[in-house]
Amino acid sequence: MTDSKYFTTTKKGEIFELKAELNSDKKEKKKEAVKKVIASMTVGKDVSALFPDVVNCMQTDNLELKKLVYLYLMNYAKSQPDMAIMAVNTFVKDCEDPNPLIRALAVRTMGCIRVDKITEYLCEPLRKCLKDEDPYVRKTAAVCVAKLHDINAQLVEDQGFLDTLKDLISDSNPMVVANAVAALSEIAESHPNSNLLDLNPQSINKLLTALNECTEWGQIFILDCLANYTPRDDRESQSICERVTPRLSHANSAVVLSAVKVLMKFMEMLPKDLDYYGTLLKKLAPPLVTLLSAEPELQYVALRNINLIVQKRPEILKHEMKVFFVKYNDPIYVKLEKLDIMIRLASQANIAQVLAELKEYATEVDVDFVRKAVRAIGRCAIKVEQSAERCVSTLLDLIQTKVNYVVQEAIVVIKDIFRKYPNKYESVIATLCENLDSLDEPEARAAMIWIVGEYAERIDNADELLESFLEGFHDESTQVQLQLLTAIVKLFLKKPTETQELVQQVLSLATQDSDNPDLRDRGYIYWRLLSTDPVAAKEVVLAEKPLISEETDLIEPTLLEELICHIGTLASVYHKPPSAFVEGSRGVQHKRIPIQSSESQDTGGAPGATEAPAAVIPSQGDLLGDLLNLDLTPPTSTAGAPPGPPMPMGGMDLLGGGLDSLVGGGGSLLTPLSLLWLPAMKGKGLEIMGTFARRAGVIQMEMTLTNKAMSVMTDFAIQFNRNSFGLAPAGPLQVPTPLSPNQTIDVSLPLNNGGPVMKMEPLNNLQVAVKNNIDVFYFSCQYPISMLFVEDGKMDRQVFLATWKDIPNENEAQFQINDCHLNSDAASNKLQGSNVFTIAKRTVEGQDMLYQSMKLTNGICVLTELRVQTGSPTYTVSDRHTHALWVMIPARAGV
């Protein structure tokens, strides 16, 4: 009998038939029917209609049938929460079963049924199972705590499961320990400050003992957990290292990589002159090399990690160049990674071998790989000076092959070699010129033109060569056009007599016939320079160029440190911090390598976790201060209030500085004022003025970029640091580049709040990094909180009333706004424009009471009571915000 037949049926009345079969009296028929249901579920058919019938099959002593029903339950319980309750009794009963396998099965499955109502019933059985006499049940229950925490964290804390879980770290069974560690590590990730794992020398000792005894997977959990510990001093660090090193001989690559992670991290604390330090370094190389004989997918993971390790500690693998030689049958992803590492390891000692290899690779089939190999030869030349000559001759050989993309790639890298070693290899120019016609890629054409221009005085027919490019000037890409313009000007400055005509031609092409502002501007600059002061032109255009750097692709040191702490994980594969690809609060915390310190007490044995709260809940004072700094300027003012005296600004005044248009403004200030965020002095010529606004429900960051430098700016990009409300650019920065000198443009960047969250000081602070072709610039600015008020913040009256009562008094604050000359209606209208909604109004003893609600993008609601004393310029505000109630929502916001 085979099971594949269950996949075949696709008749119409299928569901009815199944229903009948499920309710059959015969056990076998029932089981068959459930199998069919599961098969349908697998291929994506909706069989949720059979829920009650399947659940009816649950009470059986046939374990196979039971497991199938459980599988069904896990899939559909969420869509039928009420019916799922029907299953609870069976679960509770099964948790008492004499057979430990059934007890474990029940508690395992119950945790997978993510229905809130069920979780309540889960607590008692789980508590029992955590203390079960059978280790198999305990290890299953340990994971179940993590499951429950994922559904209802508060419940887990209230029920004291975390403490029970902590106790399990001292369990006698190694697998229970391992699972408890895994569960605690996961829970701790969402509570970075909780000190849940409470790692101290005693608990570390327990973990190290369990490490020797548990399964390979358990060893991974434990090692990954150990990596978060910060040893107190170098002695402790060494003793942990000594107990971890045997893991390097484990057959499981993940165990090896996790052990490498622990060692790489703890090594940092050891004094470099210690004998043990050297021993450890030596011990690390062989297992890393062995990883390369694993299956290709694991090789790939290993290579990505080795790439990091080589950057951090090149000495470990410096003698192992050969193992990174590419094999003909390696998958392409392995080949490309090996190539990267080869270049990193290239040194004077091994360069001959490396070059011979690279030359071989340059004749392979895969175009990407060949290009990378050719580029690698160029990088070797730049990295190892002694080899430059050999590299150049290798490149010339490759050019002789006439394979189009090889030639083009070679010319691009030769240009870089010329820049690194000026006046050394110009003899090869003639060979390069022969290949002029075959170049069809912009980068290669631009490189060739650069070479011709730079060495115009040595190329007899430089003018002819450049002229030949000029014919199709308008069809070229901008890169080539710019290069051609510069090259011809260089040529003119070097050989003024013969090339006057040519230079005029290119200048007119660039300035008159081109609609590319960049090109035009450059053309005009040259033109003016040449016509006013040829000597100055010479100094500018033919100025000595700065040398190019050797290693352009090294990972930035702080990122590298963080990635070293993530060895073996996805972050190390992507070479990105977890926050770049993990949603929500998980993995947001940055990890750091402990630093060796002479007074080692300062770490105090605290876990490596850093202090990044999961979701920022503004503290009382913060929220008030900021809310009251409300900037209400965007809405048009309908208030006909007479202009009043300028109001004093204070930290605590309602709708603070922002209210000034409300209070004092005659509707004159309609756009928020731009502030200078990045002065040109700090931005290497880039000046940024900016402001924020909320338009049609979208938060916009509006910036005015001005190029005050002498060169064009291109390749703009923007990034935000983690911030209180998770603001992040909703798209790339759209700057119509290039930005020519003295050009000013306005850009508007839509934002969303899907980014990582970290509490800032002050709360509305935003740290921004803007990048262009010149450098990366950092600045910080503050956004008005009102920008975060969402359009649907209007509460129902009843809800408002109920919520107001529910919010504890501690969450209330009061303050006054002075000198407000609006009547309550005008104020209400005005505030509405900023998504502050008036729910109700009543008049008591000559005071107008306005009840208002607003909701922040992260789900926090703020309720206010605004008391307006008619005729008095003073507003009193009572403000209650709901964070205690709403905290749970922001964590899952965006659903």
């Binding site: 599961i38 374990l63 396998l101 280790p135 069974n173 001989s249 996790s258 996805l570 690809f581």
Partner: protein, 456 residues
């Protein structure tokens, strides 16, 4: 941790889908993908999006797979392929990537141990079993004990009704215990063990005969049929151990064998081996699993015996003809015989005809593989053989030169090219009445070609 696990056939149809975590359901994907056929089918539960995203972006991708890890809309997909079956693990977290791949391989091993080859048919035939296994070895995305020896005691597809209480607790203590790979109470009438030293020798040689890289990756595979919980100790001619013994000057045997000792670059062990003991004393002691398993893997790079030397000679005669001559020399004791020898000489894509003459064996031009395949059944040590071929080429205007892939070789020899020798394997079982002498032991050495290439 792992959020879900899917198995697809080559068409991208889902055969198995097991979701462990809710977060992987909602994969938002780019506009271009929206035209896929899944949009025409009736609405399905949201988590199918992840399933579809992988199919569209990886299985059906036009380009060759550029990475075994794919990130689509902040969801990471790990995949491995076995014949034309895709296994994909999905996650939204920063998981231990090495662990996920190790788990996927393990999953394949477990499935093979249960029902043989991993094929669409076998998976469909055993889908209930697979779900049961997935439930057991992956809990909330955390891998659990996945040793087949242990699993087979309680995942049997037979139900566990008949078990006694003792049996049940034995199962649970085995699954969670320190020796999760072996159950108690094993009995054999004849205590016997087989050791296979399997080596694959890898070589990359330049046309001039210079060794560019050479290494041996070896495995010691053990089949044990031993009663009780035997304590084993394994010894080989490891240079470090022998030198240590030699220093003590205990026996002259150490000095004698010292010559033959080998330097092991690195080795890894099955989880049954006590790693801390190896680290401190370099002794290999363990309680073996029952049946067949891989005890250790090792790698050596020094003093490797290269069983064959390939000497290529390729001459281009004009633009339409190639002359190839390849000599192979065997380089081991004349009394030994190499088997299954195969030399693969690549030919250009524009080959129109080939004429071959070989002294020994059979040679054939295989147009579909773009190679001349020369097979020799047996060859003794210290012998030499030769093949010559004339390759006719079609004239092409393709400027690109022929890449000249290396000449590769396959063979099998009855010795260990690394020089590794098993010195002893001692078995102690104090509770049962058999001693080391009663155990029948077999040792066999097999050296195979790994990637054995000579550039031409």
């Amino acid at each position: 941790m792992i959020g879900g696990l899917f198995i697809y056939n080559h068409k991208g149809e889902v055969l198995i889908s097991r979701v462990y975590r809710d977060d992987i359901g909602y994969v938002q994907w780019e506009g271009s993908i929206r035209s896929s056929s899944s949009y025409l089918s009736p609405p399905s539960p949201p988590r199918r999006n992840a399933v579809d995203a992988f199919r569209v972006n990886v299985i059906h991708a036009r380009q060759q797979v550029r990475s075994p890890v794919t990130n689509i809309a902040r969801t990471s997909f790990f995949h491995v392929k076995r014949s034309n079956i895709w296994l994909a693990a999905v996650t939204k977290q920063n998981v231990n990537a090495a662990m996920v791949f190790e788990f996927l391989y393990k999953m394949c091993d477990v499935m093979s141990a249960y029902f043989g080859k991993i094929s669409e048919e076998n998976i469909k035939n055993n889908f209930v079993l697979i779900y049961e296994l997935l439930d057991e070895i992956l809990d909330f995305g955390y891998p659990q004990n996945s040793e087949t020896g242990a699993l087979k005691t309680f995942i049997t597809q037979q139900g566990i009704k008949g078990q006694t209480k003792e049996e049940q607790s034995q199962i649970t203590s085995q699954v969670t215990g320190q020796i999760g790979w072996r159950r108690e109470g094993i009995k054999y009438r004849r205590n016997e063990l087989f050791l296979d030293v399997l080596e694959s020798v890898n070589l990359l040689m330049s046309p001039q005969g210079q060794v560019l890289s050479a290494h041996v990756s070896g495995r010691v595979v053990m089949k044990s049929y031993l009663s009780g919980m035997p304590e084993c100790k394994f010894g080989m001619n490891d240079k470090i151990v022998i030198d240590k013994a030699g220093k003590g000057g205990t026996t002259d045997e150490a000095v004698k064998s010292g010559k033959q000792s080998i330097a092991i670059d690195d080795c890894t062990f099955h989880q049954c081996v006590r790693l801390s003991k190896f680290d401190s004393e370099r002794s290999i002691s363990f309680i073996p699993p029952d049946g067949e398993y891989e005890l250790m893997r090792y790698r050596t790079t020094k003093d490797i015996i290269l069983p064959f030397r390939v000497i290529p000679l390729v001459r281009e005669v004009g633009r339409t003809k190639l002359e190839v001559k390849v000599v192979i020399k065997s380089n081991f004791k004349p009394s030994l015989l190499a088997q299954k020898i195969e030399v693969r000489i690549p030919t250009p894509l524009n080959t129109s005809g080939v004429q071959v003459i070989c002294m020994k064996g059979k040679a054939k031009y295989k147009a579909s593989e773009n190679a001349i395949v020369w097979k020799i059944k047996r060859m003794a040590g210290m012998k030499e053989s030769q093949i010559s071929a004339e390759i006719e080429l079609l004239p092409t205007n393709d400027k690109k030169k022929w890449a000249r892939p290396p000449i590769s070789m396959n063979f099998e020899v009855p010795f260990a090219p690394s020089g590794l020798k098993v010195r002893y394997l001692k078995v102690f079982e104090s509770k049962l009445n058999y001693s080391d002498h009663d155990v029948i032991k077999w040792v066999r050495y097999i050296g195979r070609s790994g990637i054995y290439e000579t550039r031409c």
